[in-house]
């Protein structure tokens, strides 16, 4: 491989590639570096003129202020954290279970309607969430789910991108593996749970990252009105709404929300790449 690569790689080209990566890398990383630095700036540095990117004397006061505000809020702050963690965990877990079960049969067996169903899933990949928002609200209202967690959790089960990725990955699981288990007398559910799911672990880890990323940032402002049911991003956006004097706290909040999806992504990155590699839409 190495020797092969060298044949088509000129030194000038390599320098160009590295240069581009560094310049654009800085562009992409800049707001992140900015966020991290700002969160540790004392107030006088945040409002320093001219502004500086890097923090001179890092302090934790922004986080202390954040916790002070949190502890003073009418609803205890742990409640918001619980809400978001609960919604994220329940939505992700349910989505992975339901989508994997469906994806398993659609991928492995050819039964009336299976291909059509998958085609519909591919089309729904195109829907942007805003288009669905209003009718979804009307459905919630009919079901009586408005202002409950169900309104946030259950629609998350239906994410087509998860079903799509799981199905594509399950296509690569050899049929002989499943048939061998059947000969041994295993039931469909056992095969699914004991054989297919462990084999496609990278796939559902990927789906887990996409789903947690989405749900963790969900404000659900359309469906949730009760203060004690509000999610963390919603509550935090209310804190930032306090204006200029909350600038330091705002910086801390931004970092605080960002960290969980980022950590999950880093943890699962190698698995994600592995999944993506086998999810090509091959005809």
């Amino acid at each position: 491989m190495k020797s092969g690569l060298r044949q088509t790689r000129s030194l000038g080209g390599n320098i160009f590639v590295y240069l581009m990566l560094i310049i654009f890398g800085a562009f992409f990383a800049f707001p992140l570096i900015f966020t991290i630095n700002n969160a540790f700036k004392p107030l006088n540095e945040i409002f320093l003129f001219p502004p500086r990117l890097f923090v001179q004397q890092p302090v934790l006061s922004n986080f202390q202020d954040l916790f002070t505000i949190m502890s003073r809020s009418r609803i205890t702050f742990s409640r918001y954290i619980f809400n978001t963690v609960f919604v994220t965990a329940a939505g992700t877990f349910g989505h992975i279970i339901l989508a994997s079960m469906g994806a398993y049969v659609v991928s492995k067996y050819n039964f009336p309607g299976s291909r059509f169903f998958f085609k519909v899933v591919v089309v729904t990949l195109l829907f942007s969430p805003h288009v669905l928002q209003i009718p979804q609200f009307l459905i919630m209202r009919t079901l009586g789910w408005v202002d409950t967690f169900t309104a946030v959790i259950v629609p998350a089960f239906a994410m087509p991108i998860g079903f799509f990725l799981l199905k594509q990955f399950m296509d690569t699981v050899p049929m002989s593996l499943i048939e061998a288990a059947k000969v041994d007398g295993a039931k469909e559910l056992t095969i699914f749970w004991r054989i297919v799911m462990p084999t496609v672990k990278p796939a559902w880890l990927t789906v887990m990252v996409f789903s947690t990323q989405q749900l963790w940032n969900a404000r659900a402002a359309n469906f949730i009105f009760s203060e004690e049911l509000k999610t963390l991003p919603y509550a935090l956006s209310q804190i930032i709404g306090g204006g200029v004097q909350r600038a330091g706290v705002g910086a801390a909040v931004t970092l605080f929300i960002m960290i969980v999806p980022l950590v999950i992504f880093i943890g699962a990155q190698s698995n994600i790449i592995e999944t993506m590699a086998s999810s090509g839409i091959k005809e």
């Binding site: 992140l32 003129f49 299976s114 942007s128 009718p135 459905i139 991108i161 996409f210 990155q269």
Partner: protein, 311 residues
């Protein structure tokens, strides 16, 4: 088997179909829970939306059928909608292909890096997507007062004198700023799938290529790499369309809602305006249906184009 089925009469086919369905009971049971939520929250909303687009509906009163009136108003009587279509198309035409190409080029560059650098680079380029509302920092960077980073820097080096530039409220600059921020956020699912797609290309194909006389990385890209990852390219394109046609949060958070002179007003902004502020659900649904149609048509053409690569 297939041929034998074709030769059957309708009655026989029907019997076989029922037999197939009966034999597949377990499979249907497996699919049922997902199919149920999928239908209720993905398919049904679209059908409802299409139905309401032919009505006047304000949630309080029952919907009243008005035929094509919403579409007529939308196309002939709503200047702001036409403005939003222009804006959305401009954003889609620029950020769609550019974002898509960027995603591919960076994935390709990163693929050539040593392993430890690769993981780090993927994180750096994907971070804007994963970090949710971090794009809000652009509001500070482009802020129209002296605390805006660009204005402050411009002053320090003498590029900006007198009044600061109102990047977020002056229509001359707003579109450019929004385009930069959207591009910054555009390396999403598509980028990840390209990174992975590059891994799947069979190495022996490259070696065969060198023997056949492929000289540089560009030839290698065009003749070997691209034709081998059509599936990924397609998936990335679908994601790019969804993203570039669905722009709304960025313009609202950075330029306000509505933005000055509707300079960066998008179709989705318009939809949200009628749906959640004016409570004209029928009209909002008509906007949603138009948007969906545009996306489907765009998707069709891109699929055709991608199928042509390597042929």
């Amino acid at each position: 088997m297939e041929d034998a089925r074709k030769a059957m009469s309708f009655e026989e086919k029907r019997k076989w179909f029922i037999y197939d369905v009966k034999m597949s009971r377990t499979y249907y049971l497996f699919l049922l829970p997902y199919a149920l939520v999928f239908f209720t929250f993905m398919v049904l909303p679209v059908l409802i939306s299409i139905w309401y687009s032919f009505t006047y509906y304000n949630i309080l009163e029952p919907a009243r059928f008005v035929g094509l009136q919403n579409y007529i108003d939308l196309l002939l009587g709503d200047d702001v909608f036409l403005k939003s279509v222009t804006n959305t198309l401009l954003m889609a035409v620029i950020t769609g292909p550019v974002g898509y190409l960027m995603a591919f080029i960076f994935a390709w560059f990163i693929h050539g890096l040593p392993r430890f650098l690769r993981a780090f680079a993927v994180l750096v380029f994907y971070a804007p997507t994963i970090s949710g509302n971090v794009f809000m920092v652009w509001a500070l960077i482009f802020s129209g007062d002296q605390y805006g980073y660009i204005n402050a820097m411009g002053r320090n080096i003498g590029l900006i004198s007198g009044q600061p530039i109102y990047f977020l409220t002056n229509p001359d600059y707003m579109m450019t700023v929004i385009l930069i921020v959207i591009l910054w956020m555009s390396l999403g699912h598509g980028f990840l799938s390209f990174v992975a797609g590059l891994h799947t290309v069979d190495r022996s194909q490259y070696e065969a290529g060198y023997i056949d006389g492929i000289r540089n990385r560009w030839q290698e890209l065009w003749f070997i790499t691209l034709p081998n990852m059509k599936g990924m390219l397609l998936f990335g394109a679908v994601m790019a369309i969804t993203q570039s046609f669905g722009v709304a949060d960025v313009t609202r958070e950075l330029c306000g809602f509505p933005s000055t002179d509707y300079a960066v007003h998008t179709i989705v902004n318009h939809l949200v305006d009628y749906g959640t502020l004016r409570f004209d659900m029928g009209y909002a649904s008509a906007i949603a249906t138009m948007l969906f149609l545009m996306m489907v048509v765009c998707n069709k053409y891109i699929q055709k184009f991608i199928n042509r690569i390597g042929s």
